[in-house]
Symmetry: C2
């Protein structure tokens, strides 16, 4: 039976340290502030926003929410971003995803100044990630590495397979893993025979958002399995991995919930504090 990679516990340990940092900044008159733009009424987004708000409050980070209607046009989104870019009281700015289809998301993300781009989705921050001179790190990828490091799981020369090529998880995670000398394969919805790749993986990361995708037969004996999926099935939150079966083969595995999720929120708050420090020369 695999050992659990307890993301929830690690997140709370890191949160305790981060809270101290936030307190010290506040004693210097600096209030780390995250601003989230939410557009429309995606039900998943509501849950994430609530989690972020609670976590920010616990840490003493100010969170502001700008809610825009689903039918907002691009010009008004850009106008709001420009206004928040210029607002000195805001240290970190992000757009909650997904956004309605009429909007040009890439243009909007590129409008956020790199100094406040906490999600690492603006062109220059994405580029800096791939060039190895990181300005910020995307929260999920950062959280996964923190988790693997916490359990002393070596990446050097390891066969790491990522299922999912999103700009939020799969691609930036590949960048960070390559930098840590892992051999990286990126699989996705058009990949034929996922199992042909996953069965050789020393470390398998699933970020597909598809419950039941990863079955025990696809996993190498003794592999490390990281489940980034957050799916609602019959009122329950489950990952991409058939947990009960895969846990019999893996050496380490993240639970869902309680694995990558809490670390993602924690890592986001760490990035908020990092941006705040930099803006204040601390």
């Amino acid at each position: 039976m695999a050992q659990l990679l307890n993301g929830k516990l690690l997140a709370s340990q890191r949160a305790a340290k981060l809270k101290e940092e936030v307190n010290k900044l506040k004693q210097q008159g600096i209030k780390p502030t995250l601003c989230v733009i939410n557009i429309g009424n995606d039900p998943g987004s509501k849950i994430y926003l609530k989690t972020k708000k609670r976590r920010a409050a616990e840490l003493g980070i100010t969170q502001k929410l700008y809610q825009l209607p689903a039918e907002v046009d691009q010009a008004n989104v850009v106008k709001l971003i420009d206004q928040l870019n210029a607002d000195k009281s805001i240290n970190a700015l992000m757009i909650q995803l997904p956004v309605p289809h009429q909007l040009n998301l890439n243009e909007a993300l590129g409008r956020i100044i790199p100094e406040k781009d906490v999600d690492c989705l603006s062109p220059s921050n994405v580029g800096r990630l791939w060039r190895g001179d990181h300005f910020v790190e995307p929260a999920t990828a950062h959280g996964i590495l923190a988790l693997l490091d916490h359990y002393d799981l070596d990446l050097h020369g390891k066969n790491v397979v990522i299922i999912g090529r999103s700009s939020i998880v799969g691609k930036p995670l590949a960048a960070l893993l390559l930098e840590r000398d892992a051999t990286v394969s990126i699989l996705h919805s058009k990949t034929r025979n996922l199992g042909e790749y996953t069965k050789n993986a020393d470390i398998l990361v699933s970020a597909a958002g598809q419950p039941g995708l990863v079955k025990a037969g696809m996993v190498k004996q003794g592999a490390v399995v990281v489940d980034v999926g957050i799916n609602r099935v019959h009122g329950q939150t489950v990952g991409d991995v058939d947990f009960a079966d895969v846990a019999q083969r893996a050496s380490y595995i993240t639970p869902v919930p309680g694995g990558v999720g809490p670390l993602t929120v924690e890592a986001l708050m760490e990035q908020v504090v990092g941006l705040t420090r930099r803006q204040n020369g601390r």
Copy 2:
């Protein structure tokens, strides 16, 4: 015996078309101009510079060379870049690699304005490549895709293995291939058992710069093999692939010389013309 992927022939066909484009621009008073900064006296660079100069001349593209001494300091490199950024007669600007170790290459590359960054090495252009809204495409990766497309070699869902994780070839090629729905694995010097990955590759790209690296036993029967290596061995130019043996197993293979090399230079000139067009609203 594999069919040759004749990069030299394709490059000359594309050059004929490009020359017409350059002529039309010149009739409108627009002279596409590439400026190369070369620092020090790397012998490999000398060969590349000569090839570029000749190809540019054939196409009617102006090439300017700024030669800096090996011991130049960062401030003087930055000063030159700023000056060339501001020079309206220059459409495309690049730094010939490698550069001496005392220089901060990332900072210098980031100083080139994206509008003139013909090598796609500035942060925002790298980021745009990974986000799928390309401004320019790195020449080698662009050339390889052009070659595969020319021979109607499908990428969708294919197992593509890249040996090499450089910012110039391996990483940008991975970005372009993912966008084309290939499954992509990135191998490098720290990868254990290269053959475990390469023997399953439908398309194998070697950009390691290591003669004799890819042997027939590492290649799947019927695979497409693309050799990006340009190595000098006993006065001869050879790639990374054991050509004679691998050609017995592959369905398609690039020769070295005459494969990827000529297309890289051609693709660079295409990017020069593309940037020139954009700067002139054409």
